[in-house]
Structure formats: structure tokens, C-alpha cells
Symmetry: C2
Subunit: 238 residues, 2 copies
């Protein structure tokens, strides 16, 4: 066996992998202006905290790919399909799980708000900008922190804020996403420039009536779905 | 067994994982103004192309974590330690490897240019902005494409360009990194503003003499190492 083939996986026999492989999901929603993360019971008797991120192993007979595994584990807990699912990072080492080498692929999922209440298996915990994160079992608070940081960065140059909103929304609702995640929001004028009607939004033809003057309702243009990047961060929010 | 514990990895017995786990490394350098990617012989008789990315499985007895596994596989091919190593994404599915469910964690590594020539096991291939990528075995051209895209994005708002340069460099060398990766570069004035001496660079006290007027040489300030994000992309390069 040559040196080169010795380190190329394609030439190796099927290895008896001893690593534990899982997906961990940071599922977020905006509920009445409050950012929340979904948790499940940690289950394990030695877990130091009763709650954990929705997580579980990959079932090679069911899951064609990693994303399907993540969707399956989220689906156990909530009937709502994520409006956005994105890989955050993969953590793999010999120290995070006492049972052996453990590898987990971390996803964050954004949900449009759903009316369902907590169940014994699905509980939503509040997340406040700059506040302490909920205590979670295993290394899940660290995974949560990384996912929140990623999201807080990405809302500043992408259309991701829209994936936390209902299908139809007012500009002020976009501002509320920033407020809930960063603790501050760009000026409305700046939001209007960025999420402008030329490229990202289209009016639904409806208005929302409340205590202020009627608010125009928008939805994402179909051609803007998945088109995520702007060329600047919001300076005002940094 | 309750429903919640049925999908929490911590309560599951040690699974006999059937997935193939590997790291794949996109190793890049700038050699005489030319971006290049490192490849190794693909090895497998059924591989459709003779070259592949440096890759290999995780050895749980050797590798404490994923990054160590990546460094080990890169180390087989080159004596130079990466100046930057970053996870790009994890691909896992039942279709990329005929032997079974396969998961690979993809890294990109940046190298300061090294003088060594190609060896039978390590060959550098040119990458030209907008040009066709080198043909590689397996799905490695797709992995390469994703890594290059990530790098081309990130050089526009981070200090990553500096990790492709020698320890000491002129401002014009930074411009050359942009030119080699994007096929165009921001104006020198814009580069000077971004990589300014207050926060990122310090003079080495030396100058480089050539056909033009002497160029001031800089190095990264020690406190700037790893401090990567700027608040704007270069508009001129988009």
C-alpha cells in the first residue's frame, strides 16, 4: 500500500467507525416579540440539566442526508416545518461524550411563529440579547451560543430576518427581529432601503390596522427566496 | 422508553455507526501570484480522475478532535503548517460513496508560500478566477468549489488575505491576493484604509527594493491575529 493510498478514504476498507454521530438542532422562533429556543428533555440520568437541544443520531436506513436527519429530529417536537435550516458547524472530539469519540453536526432552524403551547417533550425558552443563555445539558449551551452568534452576524447582511416572520408582515416587524436578537435595531429608513420593493419585498395589497396609522403588509418576492446576501453590514447595529 | 428519550443521543446505547467519517482538506497557497490547490493521488482504481483532495478518515486513537485529523492529513503531504485552518461544511449522505453512508467534514487551509516542488504524492494545481476548476476524483471538485466560494466571500470582510502572504509583505502583495482570487482588486487607497496601521498592521522597519519605489514592509500585529471581521464588504470588488 503506497503512502498516498494509506491516507485516502477511498482506498480504505469499510472502517468499523467507533464515533457517535448525531445532529444537534438550535430551533428558534420569535414569539410575541421574544426570541425563543426549543428544547427537549435531556433524558440521560447523568445530565446536569433537565433540558437539551433537539438532537439525535443519524439513521442510515431513514436519513438520505444530514439535513433530513435534522428535519426528522425537529419534526418529533413540532409540527411546523422550519422556514430556514442551515448548518452551523461540526464538533467532533474525544472529550464531549464520556462514551467515546463523538461527532455532531449542528444546525440552526428558524420557525415562523406557531400557536402551539409547550408539551412535555417540547419547551420553548426565552433568549434575551446580552442575557444569560438557558442552562442546557451536555455541551449544548456552547452549541446554542455559537448558533446565536452566527444568526446575529448573518441577519446583518442577509434576508434571514424575514424567515422568523409570518408569511405577511410590516416593515416594523423586521425591525422587531433585529431588536429581539441584537437588543437594538437599524433605523426604519435603513431597513426600507435594504429590504426594498425592487428586489426583496412585494406588497400583499393589504394593510394592518392598529393604534398607529395603517401598516403596509409585505411578503418576500418569490425570486428573493434564498437570495440572501447584501453587500454591507448595518453599521448602526454594530 | 419515552418518546423524548427515543431521539436523544445521550440515552441511546453506543450505536454501531455504519457511516464512513472523514475529513477533506482544500489546501491553498499563492505561488508566484498564482492561486494553487494541493492534491494527492486519488488511489482508488475506480476513481474517475487521478487527483483528489488530501483526505482521510478520523483515527480515534490519534486524533483528539476533527481539526487535528485535518492537520494530520495535510501533514502527510506538506511540511508547512497551515497559517489558517477553517471548517467549511459537512457533507453527509447515502449517495456520495458507493460503500455506504459517508460523512466528510471539509476544511480549507491557507498556506504561506513554500519553496518545495511537487512530489509524487503532493501536486499543486493552478486555480484561475472564473476559470474551470481542476478535475478531481469523487465529489471533490464540488467540495473545492464550495471552499473557494467561501474564501472569496470572506476575504472581502476579514483579514484572511494576510494568511496567504509571507510573514512580511507590502500593501501591493495584499492587492495581489485579491487579484488572484477574484480577478480584480480594490484600489490601493481602499486597502490602505482597511488594513491600516492602527488596528491590523505594523511596519517591520524594512523596505523592499525593486523596479518601483521602495515598498514599506508590514506584518500582522500580534493582537490582530484571528481578529477577522470588518463591517463592510468591498463594494468595488463585487
Amino acid at each position: 500500500m503506497s503512502q498516498s493510498s494509506a491516507h485516502n478514504p477511498a482506498t480504505e476498507p469499510l472502517p468499523l467507525s467507533m464515533a457517535l454521530i448525531s445532529v444537534d438542532c438550535v430551533v428558534l422562533r420569535l414569539h410575541q416579540g421574544q426570541l425563543q429556543v426549543l428544547t427537549a428533555p435531556a433524558g440521560h440520568p447523568n445530565a446536569r440539566h433537565p433540558f437539551a437541544l433537539p438532537a439525535g443520531r443519524i439513521e442510515i436506513s431513514q436519513d438520505h442526508n444530514l439535513e433530513q436527519a435534522a428535519r426528522r429530529h425537529i419534526g418529533y417536537l413540532t409540527q411546523t416545518v422550519p422556514s430556514w435550516l442551515e448548518q452551523v458547524e461540526t464538533i467532533g472530539n474525544d472529550s464531549r461524550d464520556s462514551r467515546g469519540w463523538s461527532l455532531t453536526v449542528v444546525y440552526f432552524a428558524l420557525m415562523r411563529d406557531e400557536p402551539e403551547a409547550d408539551t412535555p417533550d417540547a419547551r420553548w425558552h426565552d433568549i434575551t440579547p446580552g442575557g444569560e443563555l438557558p442552562a442546557l445539558a451536555y455541551d449544548h449551551q456552547i452549541l446554542l451560543k455559537a448558533a446565536i452568534e452566527r444568526l446575529c452576524n448573518k441577519i446583518q447582511y442577509t434576508t434571514l430576518p424575514l424567515y422568523l416572520l409570518p408569511e405577511s408582515f410590516a416593515l416594523a416587524d423586521i425591525r422587531d427581529v433585529f431588536q429581539s436578537l441584537l437588543g437594538k435595531a437599524p433605523p426604519m429608513r435603513s431597513l426600507r432601503n435594504r429590504f426594498n420593493e425592487e428586489t426583496v419585498l412585494e406588497g400583499t395589497g393589504e394593510k394592518r390596522y392598529g393604534s398607529n396609522r395603517p401598516a403596509t403588509l409585505y411578503r418576500m418576492k418569490s425570486e428573493a427566496v434564498g437570495k440572501r446576501m447584501f453587500s454591507r453590514l448595518y453599521e448602526s447595529t454594530r
